[in-house]
Symmetry: D2
Subunit: 342 residues, 4 copies
Amino acid sequence: MIEVGIVGGTGYTGVELLRLLAHHPEVNLNVITSRSEAGMAVSDLFPNLRGHVDLAFTVPDVEKLAACDVVFFATPHTVAMALVPELIARGTRVIDLSADFRLKDAVEWEHWYNMPHTCPELLEQAVYGLPELNREQIKSAQLIAAPGCYPTATQLGFLPLLENNLIDPNHLIADAKSGVSGAGRKASIGALLAESAESMKAYAVAGHRHLPEIRQGLNIVSQQDVNLTFVPHLTPMIRGIHATLYGQLTTDVDLQSLFEQRYANEPFVDVMPAGSHPETRSVRGANVCRIAIHQPQNSNTVVVLSVIDNLVKGASGQAIQNMNIMFGFDEKLSIDTIAAMP
Amino acid sequence: MIEVGIVGGTGYTGVELLRLLAHHPEVNLNVITSRSEAGMAVSDLFPNLRGHVDLAFTVPDVEKLAACDVVFFATPHTVAMALVPELIARGTRVIDLSADFRLKDAVEWEHWYNMPHTCPELLEQAVYGLPELNREQIKSAQLIAAPGCYPTATQLGFLPLLENNLIDPNHLIADAKSGVSGAGRKASIGALLAESAESMKAYAVAGHRHLPEIRQGLNIVSQQDVNLTFVPHLTPMIRGIHATLYGQLTTDVDLQSLFEQRYANEPFVDVMPAGSHPETRSVRGANVCRIAIHQPQNSNTVVVLSVIDNLVKGASGQAIQNMNIMFGFDEKLSIDTIAAMP
Amino acid sequence: MIEVGIVGGTGYTGVELLRLLAHHPEVNLNVITSRSEAGMAVSDLFPNLRGHVDLAFTVPDVEKLAACDVVFFATPHTVAMALVPELIARGTRVIDLSADFRLKDAVEWEHWYNMPHTCPELLEQAVYGLPELNREQIKSAQLIAAPGCYPTATQLGFLPLLENNLIDPNHLIADAKSGVSGAGRKASIGALLAESAESMKAYAVAGHRHLPEIRQGLNIVSQQDVNLTFVPHLTPMIRGIHATLYGQLTTDVDLQSLFEQRYANEPFVDVMPAGSHPETRSVRGANVCRIAIHQPQNSNTVVVLSVIDNLVKGASGQAIQNMNIMFGFDEKLSIDTIAAMP
Amino acid sequence: MIEVGIVGGTGYTGVELLRLLAHHPEVNLNVITSRSEAGMAVSDLFPNLRGHVDLAFTVPDVEKLAACDVVFFATPHTVAMALVPELIARGTRVIDLSADFRLKDAVEWEHWYNMPHTCPELLEQAVYGLPELNREQIKSAQLIAAPGCYPTATQLGFLPLLENNLIDPNHLIADAKSGVSGAGRKASIGALLAESAESMKAYAVAGHRHLPEIRQGLNIVSQQDVNLTFVPHLTPMIRGIHATLYGQLTTDVDLQSLFEQRYANEPFVDVMPAGSHPETRSVRGANVCRIAIHQPQNSNTVVVLSVIDNLVKGASGQAIQNMNIMFGFDEKLSIDTIAAMP
């Protein structure tokens, strides 16, 4: 049994952590913080948790957090940067769901986030929490940078191709479609149902903050600089990411077998049979990435379809997967749930 | 560990039974039948079950079904009527999610379903599977008629009022809103997204098949014939029922306390604090009925808001709740899940 | 050709006025104001208007507004109150889409809006702009209080019954379902797609600001104080109101004929054939109220189904209908559009 | 005033023709056929048309159709093939919204539609009804093959680039997202709201029937065989197509100016300002294609965003645009409507 703290529990990744941890047999939810909602019962804000979570939000208190075995940060960027160094210094393990420790290069971080990084010395130490890539380092990590949602779906789809040098790294395209929960639980006109239902649009085509994160990951497995065009789209649904990935094959191999072997031992990556079209609803609420591989019209363009729930395998579920690995629990504990269909 | 069979697993209540039973620690899923899909792997039809359910659909075989400890019928009406008598005769327990055994009066059944009932002798024996009303009889029942979705939400909202003779039984109104999954997994133009999204409409105002079922239940607790106007509405969402119930108070009592006491020991009925407005999403995928009671403008009209997930507390979850009671398991086993929000 | 001004063009009723007025053959759109967006081209904010409206938003200027033949207020409450007296004094006609002049009783207004009314002397003069009730007064009105959305759907459904004393005025129930655009174009967490899609809930059951407006209207036609229970619901769609109205019949008449005769000459009320179930999508974008009348199970409860588009017949379309009447144009000019289905 | 007939008026392109033609000042709707619904009033099937269209469906009658000036076919493929030769022989002009005459090569048609083409001799004569490409031929055409929805959005986005040889024709990618109305008004499980809402998926990645149509069009303007990867996606909305197009630039030009000049005189193509992200809702119900051009990160990958309403500029609106051109009417007559936002 470990003691768990959550900083910033009022957003969508926070409530999702609570949903998935509430019945975790090895976890005692010890503290959940929110400056704005301090004093309020968690289940008053999130009525789905009535009867399952008895905690109330509290103001962040370093002493209480440091006393936990692990602390999750489910906060906007810059919050973790401010608190994590002290927790790390005191031996508390940290899983940060925000972007603060995802990029290895502080200069690039500062370029994309338009502010100084206040603890660049931790960037090297932070382990990028994609278990399919870094399971060994995760086991002993003290600080995990949990991957973003787009980066998870995109990297898992490109990995087998780039690890084996099967596609031209100069012509990668990721056309990604996300549900609106990716924008977070904050008041905004653009994410109103009246504005975003019954419509589809691309956004941030000039440059989205997940681009450098994806590029960094692909560069590492390619062992060279890739050229990636990344176009995110706002899709009229709550949850789900559908990444449609395009690459130019440079050689001829059995892609289906390749993907199946690459992920044969991965509990949360499901390579579907040849010819499949994964649906985001098949992973809604579940910690799974479903992938299908196509080579339409026998051209040399490979099309990989990769779907996740942005709040689960793309955020809170993957964060708990990291926790399970860090503490030696069964990796599937409490996150082996089944999507509800319909 | 009990052996479980499911007849008719290709509809929405079937896949929902599978989702909730797949990880039930006391259940071995033994057989699932479908004439139309015999031979197909269940997870080919429902990809959310990939990695969780290994069964394939088979043609119904009475021998195999009779060898189970309990058989669920997740079928359109008339299918259960044909098979249940033999299963009952051979000692197999049955939980029927269809309408075949819900009405006690065969003549009324035949009026609403426009066909003869082929085993009216079982109507008396069948126990109406609303645990909040009939938990004791359920324990020893051999045949359960699981309640319909509208009847569950409506009866749980009216029960405390009618049991205590607090409202005029001659002026009951149930204005109910249902997601489109209530229409089942069958091809129809009216339930297309292009037809039913972005629109609201009432239907079957002249008389819906759930009306006699609700009326029968309310008559029993009222010990008299009630006059109920029931107007169902098709709502542009997948899951959920929101029943808005209106009654004319005949006496002045603390309704909040009354409801809280009535359901104090019910694991799956949640009476919310005074002034609440339950949302259907707070019970999506969960086996819960959330209720709030209002008396607007201090008039003598009481308004009860009652929400469920039509496929869970309104169908498959409640069916499993019955099974847990029948076999002496913890009533919450495998159905104590938390709705995902957002 | 008349000169038209719009105050507050950045909300949903504002853009809807522009859509419907852009091609009005008798209207010259002269000025549209917005303090927050002054200087911005209207079509930059609302790209649907590209190529149709060339105006830019300007800071409100009384001189320019007073020079118009008619000024629409598409503003939150209290804005019209502050400007209208001067416009009226200078002879400009005003159509106010906000709540400022809808209630005749300043004390009641102040109760529901929690602030003083700054020009109560205009309340008497203001004509309530429901053409089906007040067409004659509208013709010569200088100040129109355009009805709210719920009040339009509810009053048009109850009018024929109350005008003829056919139902008990002490037991009126209006169960109304509205799309989320009714909440306006403003940032709020509750109206996010991630919060309000795939869910249904009642709100403001204790008392909604449209209640006194509806009650006032029904009192006038009933010539007595009615007792109305009004329960609004937030529905997961953008546009549309479905009002389901319940009354207790006190006499036996041919309701279908009654409604058909009442609205025979109304261009924008469509009484559907007996047994119909109007859908909100059939009036989406159109200035129509579709009504069906039911008497289920031959009980004495009458059920009226009344649907409108909250932004058209429930707001901007009706406001233009008033303008057409006031200036002697064909009442249907520019608002006789057809809903798109699907 | 011309006499107009419609064959097959019960689908989505049929009702959309009716909506747009009902108030066309030069059109008399003479006959609308449907074998399945013969005798039914059109407005009974489509209540949005109540008060606007008085016709009833009739069984197809060649005499009556031939007496029209122009006949629209809003039918599944193969229906037009059977009737068109006789109408053409008798001098009636025909606008076919189906796929029967879109491909010039009968062998390719037969490959994609798995059946013989019964009047290949008309393929040469048929004019492909994309006004932005073939306006002159349309003027005098007797038979128009109206473009498909995906082909319209894709071709309008690629045209300026391919006409000027600015991109490598061997690496074209069209990632297209369509609302579910593209599947037509027919009962199917996959298009149920319960199956397709809250989910995103690709489909027909191996080869969609619109691929050869798009390829044919791009080949013509490129004057060579292009290599196009086309991946359509089913999007949880009713209407709209968002085509995201990717090309590899072979030269450096001012793309924004290029597109603006190419479409400067086109009434229904709107090139948005640099940096824009067109939304499908901005063209919902309107006969417009909105386009934005991006060159993210200054790489040599150009990204074109092209949105249309699949039922208007992608079908019925464009068909009427063709009719206006054919008969010398103002090209914008009756189709210059404004999308409703929200």
